[in-house]
């Protein structure tokens, strides 16, 4: 365990696409075991920030720490789980092979057991040897959730996790996240679906045109934010 108490720490993070600043001096800190909902319109910089936290992109300026270490270090990435816009699973492989592959990449000790456990959790055990190509949309989404959890991450970075999920998958993800929080896992999730996110979130941060407009505990946020923010967030997606 590293001594840092915050799970996610971003200090003065800037990201430029050419001359365009996608992030402008964002500073955030998230304590362990909390859930931060990143709100903001399209193009506000939510995805950019999450990609930087996941080590998929390097900040142009500023510093990022996940559990006290830099995101790009293998030791950090081993403890982080990322679920982006795409589901990140292979159509040609079976459900089990997909989980085994990612368990191997994450260096999970007992791959077979981990794969079995998570196939069970997302209720895909009976189709574990079926190709993902033949899966329904809901099944693929549940497999993607299992893929993000298979190495039991301590920090979860979820980009619009509830968008385009069916009700069953939303329910499943909420339950898994609650369990994860109970064991001290931290999550940062960006979202358009306020209701689902706010049910889970302990904290809220609002991004607008790459700037952090607000960061604070959830209850306060729900009272303080003007309704227009909700409106914009909910319709533009």
């Amino acid at each position: 365990m590293s001594p840092a108490s915050e799970a996610v720490l971003a200090s003065d993070v800037w990201k430029f696409h050419g001359d365009f600043p996608a992030l402008r001096g964002v500073s955030l800190r998230t304590e362990r075991g909390t859930c931060l909902a990143l709100l903001g319109r399209n193009g506000a910089g939510k995805t950019t920030l999450l990609r930087i936290l996941a080590g998929l992109s390097a900040p142009s300026r500023g510093d990022v720490r996940i559990l006290g270490t830099a995101p790009r270090l293998p030791v950090t990435r081993r403890r982080a789980g990322y679920l982006g816009h795409g589901i990140g699973i292979y159509d040609e492989l079976t459900a089990r092979e997909n989980l085994l592959h990612f368990a191997r990449l994450y260096g999970v000790e007992n791959k077979e057991a981990a794969a079995s456990k998570w196939l069970e959790r997302v209720d895909l055990k009976r189709v574990e040897d079926g190709r993902v190509r033949e899966f329904s949309r809901g099944m693929r989404q549940r497999l993607a959730i299992a893929r993000a959890f298979v190495h039991e991450p301590d920090v979860l970075l979820l980009d619009e996790p509830f968008t385009s999920l069916d009700d069953r998958a939303i329910h499943l993800l909420q339950n898994l996240l609650r369990e994860a929080f109970a064991r001290g896992c931290t999550a940062v999730l960006s979202t358009h679906q306020l209701r689902e996110a706010l049910e889970l979130a302990t904290n809220v941060a609002l991004l607008d045109r790459g700037k952090l407009k607000f960061a604070g505990p959830r209850t306060q946020a729900m009272l303080d934010l003007p309704p227009s923010i909700y409106f914009e967030t909910e319709t533009e997606g």
Partner: protein, 224 residues
């Protein structure tokens, strides 16, 4: 006038003046070469073009490595400009070589080692220019082209070595290899210097365009 503009004018004007002086010397003062006649004068343009082409490609290599290290788009702009201008000089070298070959050998093209190597490098850096035009995001474009510039430059010596061996096994026309006559030296090296000045001036103009382009892209995204 910005500092860069001043440089452009200084380099451009001094290059042009020197070129006129040198052209007078090359065209009117120096006599024809005994065997080749008037066409030998193309060497004053053919060889310096290659020199400056390679100088610019080397500069682009350094700028590309610096970009990967510092992630400053100014280095990317310079690398891209240097390669574009270097590629034009490379083209001048190829075209003047072909004209010379047509007069002396009677053919436009021969698979001579130097011609072939130059042609491969021309294709290589041409690929770099096409690749840049296919990428929209400035950061991605910069990184991808920086890596490609390093690969291309690492390839160049291998290409030259391989072609030389390849062609030594086949009969091929031999370029004259004697040194320059003493009276040719000054105008020759002066032209190298002139090409360098003009090459740098054009590169700086191109760098300016890259900067403006980047600024425009940024403004456009901001407006959206």
């Amino acid at each position: 006038m910005s500092k860069r503009e001043k440089w452009v004018y200084a380099l451009g004007v001094s290059g042009t003046v020197l070129l006129i002086v040198n052209l007078y010397r090359i065209l009117l003062v120096l006599g024809d070469e005994m065997q080749q006649g008037a066409i030998y004068r193309i060497i004053y343009f053919h060889v310096p073009a290659a020199f400056i082409g390679w100088t610019l490609f080397l500069a682009a290599l350094v700028a590309s490595a610096l970009y990967l290290w510092k992630k400053d788009l100014a280095f990317d702009g310079f690398a891209a400009s240097a390669i574009e201008v270097g590629w034009v000089f490379c083209s001048i070298n190829l075209v003047t070589g072909m004209i010379w070959g047509r007069i002396i050998w009677g053919i436009w093209w021969t698979w001579d080692p130097r011609l072939t190597s130059m042609f491969i490098c021309w294709l290589l850096y041409g690929g770099y220019i096409v690749l840049r035009s296919a990428i929209d995001d400035a950061g991605q474009r910069a990184t991808v082209s920086a890596v490609l510039a390093i690969f291309a430059f690492a390839d160049v010596p291998i290409v030259f070595m391989a072609i030389r061996w390849w062609r030594t096994q086949h009969p091929s026309p031999v370029l004259e290899t004697g040194g320059l006559a003493p009276e040719m030296r000054l105008p020759f090296w002066l032209n190298v210097f002139v090409f360098l000045l003009i090459g740098l001036a054009i590169t700086l103009v191109r760098v300016d365009q890259e900067d403006t382009q980047r600024e425009l892209e940024g403004l456009r995204r901001r407006a959206f």
